[in-house]
């Protein structure tokens, strides 16, 4: 946690708060950091983030489909998702006959819990981070995989063949793509020489060209694109949304869930998406660092913007790309999806990883 108070980084919000509130008390500042982190953890993704993202998804989808999307409730349908959430809270929860009630009711919480746990290590700003373990990357991989358990037991408990098929698909799909993701994370760790998320961001200090997507020629862009594809599959987002493929499995693992159970699965999907997008920007796009261009006055202006704004902007940009994917592509078949991972993506990732090692050894990294 000591690394949190790194005043050398760009951390306008944190600096501002500390300067105003605790000009001479590092201990209080440390506590404030924690509070800010918890606030960021809870407020941003849950109460503002997820409904906003759902609204954004509906608007993006609509505009891609030559429609308008929600328009009537609030300006441009802005309160549409609030209505959805309130409605879902007050909707009847009717477990069907033959379910394992305890597991059925517990399961929707698991993916959400896993997402929140991962959220704890995402650096939203230089000092906007709940915890910064040394092995942040390993933590992300290990805890992130927990969400799968929720899909599996939820589907198993709901006593429905569609749900079961969806859960089996989820298991096969998420475990497979976990490997690809891990290889790419290893690559980033290798290049930066760090395993704490914050340090990985800080290793990209400098201009835009110092971000890992550009800094390592060939390897960086390749890894970035591969990471986007693998994480889409890991997120079970369209076009890889086989676990809830509507045309095949009606609603997949969540077929029997209604009301809050459904909305927690639904929410977890969006929180997960935020996290993956945040991780992409952390690993490849310089996280909370401003996109400096190397021209002094412009850089000064860019650097004055708080890091959290950059982070959120980058995250939203990546989220938009995920949505773009979803509303553009048809869905592959389950065997094709797994073949894509084991026969194409994983070898490609390993090759990129090897190339990265070679680049590091030969010094082909931009200064």
């Amino acid at each position: 946690m000591n690394a949190l108070i790194d005043l050398s980084a760009n951390n306008a919000v944190g600096d501002f708060v500390r300067d105003v509130l605790f000009p001479n008390s590092p201990a209080l500042a440390w506590a404030a950091n924690g509070l800010l982190g918890v606030a960021a953890l809870l407020l941003f993704p849950v109460f503002l983030g997820a409904p906003f993202l759902i609204w954004m998804e509906r608007k993006v989808c609509a505009h891609m489909q030559a429609r308008l999307g929600p328009m009537r409730h609030g300006p441009h349908g802005a309160v549409q998702t609030i209505a959805d959430v309130v409605k879902l809270v007050f909707k009847e929860i009717a477990p069907p006959g033959g379910v394992d009630r305890l597991v059925y009711l517990l399961a929707p919480g698991i993916p959400l819990t896993a997402s929140f746990l991962v959220l704890a290590v995402v650096p939203w700003g230089a000092n906007l981070q709940v915890a910064d373990p040394e092995q942040g990357v390993f933590y992300v991989v290990a805890v992130g995989a927990l969400g799968l358990l929720g899909f599996l037991v939820g589907a198993w408990a709901s006593n429905n063949k569609f749900a079961l098929l969806g859960a089996m698909r989820a298991g096969a799909q998420m475990l497979s793509y976990e490997i690809s993701l891990s290889v790419l994370l290893l690559l980033v760790m290798l290049l930066s020489g760090e395993s704490s998320l914050r340090e990985i961001v800080l290793s990209q200090r400098g201009t835009v060209l110092d971000w890992w997507v550009f800094k390592a020629p060939v390897v960086g862009p390749l890894a970035f694109v591969l990471y986007l594809v693998s994480s889409t599959a890991e997120l079970n987002r369209g076009p890889f949304d086989l676990i809830e493929a509507e045309q095949e499995l009606t609603a997949g693992y969540q077929t029997e869930y209604s009301g809050m159970g459904f909305s927690m699965f639904y929410l977890a999907e969006y929180v997960n998406m935020t996290i993956q997008a945040a991780l992409v920007s952390t690993f490849f796009l310089g996280g909370f660092l401003p996109p400096l261009v190397g021209i002094a006055p412009v850089d000064a202006a860019l650097a004055a913007v708080p890091g959290v704004v950059w982070m959120v902007a980058k995250t939203l940009a990546i989220v938009f790309v995920y949505m773009w994917f979803r509303w553009s592509f048809p869905r592959p078949r389950v065997d094709q999806l797994l073949a894509l991972e084991w026969k194409t993506l994983l070898p490609a990732n390993l090759a990129v990883f090897a190339l990265g090692m070679l680049a590091l050894a030969m010094g082909w990294i931009l200064p």
Binding site: R58, A62, Q65, A66, R67, L68, G69, P70, M71, R72, H73, G77, V79, Q80, I82, A83, D84, V85, V86, K87, F90, K91, E92, I93, A94, P96, E246, T250, A251, Q254, T255, E256, Y257, S258, G259, F262
Partner: protein, 416 residues
């Protein structure tokens, strides 16, 4: 509904709590009316208009209702789009029961409102979906235009906003508990009442008008002048493939004495296809020859039967897929009555059996046609490996296309 019901119980005793629970109700009603997620359900024509309503031109998403859920567990609104028939009734009720409360139903299209065009002379269609589940909004039309469905949705939103879920939870009920009201009769009575009131109120004015204008006759409605159309004779080409006589000669070369059925091609109808009257026991052999002989009739067009009162007549049509040459076979099938019984032209729902050889071995594509003929006509096809009812429920009484079929409890004859 537990949560909602407990809100007034907890809040009302507190001073000012009634106002608070009213506020809760307002917010909940607001949210529910603004977030109506329909179930993906459509059986026929209306489903296309329902889809059109969610497409770019009409865009139901403006009202927040584009989230069509495939699983009933996540839906709020059941748009019954399309005709509901007897076999569908049970799945429909089950779907309704699977939707968690609060739930609403829009009956879209005249079939679901009252049976629509299928009200009279129909043994299959449910005459109004409100005989199965409670309906909140009726959208008439055949099919209703998407605008009408949107109007129905807005009506439903208003309905929800005016409801009082806290104190009279009218929507948490299961269909099993809810008494199904005969809204049609109620509406009819209400309409008659309105008419009566109107007549009463107007009586004086009418009498006054009649006294003042004793010679008044309502003007005749203007009629559009119809243009005269010319008498056009039917122009047709001869049927494709071999000429009629050659086909007859070829068939008679193999089966001498096979009688022709119906007329030969005439000037008015040069495209008549040769039809032969084949005895029932020779059908399999004839069909096999048609398929494998020189005519190469490899394509099964259709198989059906006609009830000739005292017997059935199978109609089998086959085609040569490269020349489009067609041949029709007419096969009389006798109605076999139990010992001592005979055909009675006046009796309804007579019990008899009819058997014909299956053509599945010759043309596999006749399989389902035979199942259909068994289902609707009651002709058994010996040799069909899967002769089950195809359209009707297994326990449907009788075979509806038999001329002596009668089902007074369901078929409403069209008034003359």
């Amino acid at each position: 509904m537990g949560l909602m019901e407990s809100v007034p119980k907890v809040l009302d005793p507190i001073p000012g709590g009634k106002r608070l629970s009213d506020a809760v109700e307002y917010v909940v009603n607001w949210a529910r009316s603004r977030s109506i997620w329909p179930l993906t359900f459509g059986t026929s024509c209306c489903a296309i208009e329902m889809m059109a309503a969610s497409m770019a031109r009409y865009d139901i998403s403006r009202f927040g209702s584009e989230v069509f859920r495939a699983s009933p567990r996540q839906a709020d609104l059941f748009i019954v789009a399309g005709t509901i028939v007897d076999k569908m009734a049970e799945p429909l009720v089950r779907l309704y029961e699977q939707i968690p409360g609060p739930k609403w139903v829009i009956a879209m299209g005249s079939c679901t409102v009252s049976g629509g065009p299928f009200y009279y002379d129909n043994y299959s269609v449910v005459k109004g979906v409100d005989r199965l589940i409670p309906v909140d909004v009726f959208v008439p039309g055949c099919p209703p235009r998407p605008e009408a469905l949107l109007k129905g949705l807005v009506e439903l939103q208003e309905l929800i906003r005016k409801s009082h879920p806290l104190r009279s939870p009218e929507h948490g009920r299961l269909a099993a508990d809810a008494p199904v009201e005969d809204r049609w009769t109620k509406a009819k009575q209400a309409w008659e009442e309105l008419e009566r009131i109107k007549d009463e109120q107007m009586a004086e004015a009418r009498a006054k008008f009649a006294a003042e204008h004793p010679d008044y006759r309502p003007p005749k409605p203007a009629r559009k002048e119809k243009p005269a159309f010319p008498e056009t004779p039917r122009a047709a080409r001869p049927a494709p493939g071999l000429p009629f006589d050659e086909v007859v000669a070829a068939v008679r070369g193999r089966f001498p004495g096979l009688a022709l059925f119906g007329a030969a091609p005439s000037e008015a109808e040069p495209d008549r296809v040769p039809a032969f009257e084949v005895p029932c026991d020779a059908l399999a052999e004839t069909a096999l020859w048609l398929k494998e002989g020189p005519l190469a009739m490899d394509y099964p067009v259709f198989l059906t039967a006609v009830d000739r009162l005292d017997r059935f007549e199978l109609v089998v049509r086959a085609m040569n897929s490269s020349t489009a040459q067609q041949v029709e076979l007419r096969v009389p099938v006798e109605k076999r009555f139990a010992e001592g019984a005979a055909y009675d032209p006046a009796a309804k729902n007579q019990k008899y059996d009819a058997v014909a050889p299956s053509l599945c071995g010759v043309w596999p594509g006749m399989g389902w046609h035979e199942r259909e003929t068994w289902d609707l006509m009651g002709i058994r096809f010996e040799g069909n490996p899967d002769l089950r009812r195809i359209f009707l429920k297994d326990d449907f009484p009788g075979h509806p296309l038999r001329k002596d079929f009668d089902m007074p409890e369901r078929v409403v004859p069209r008034p003359a």
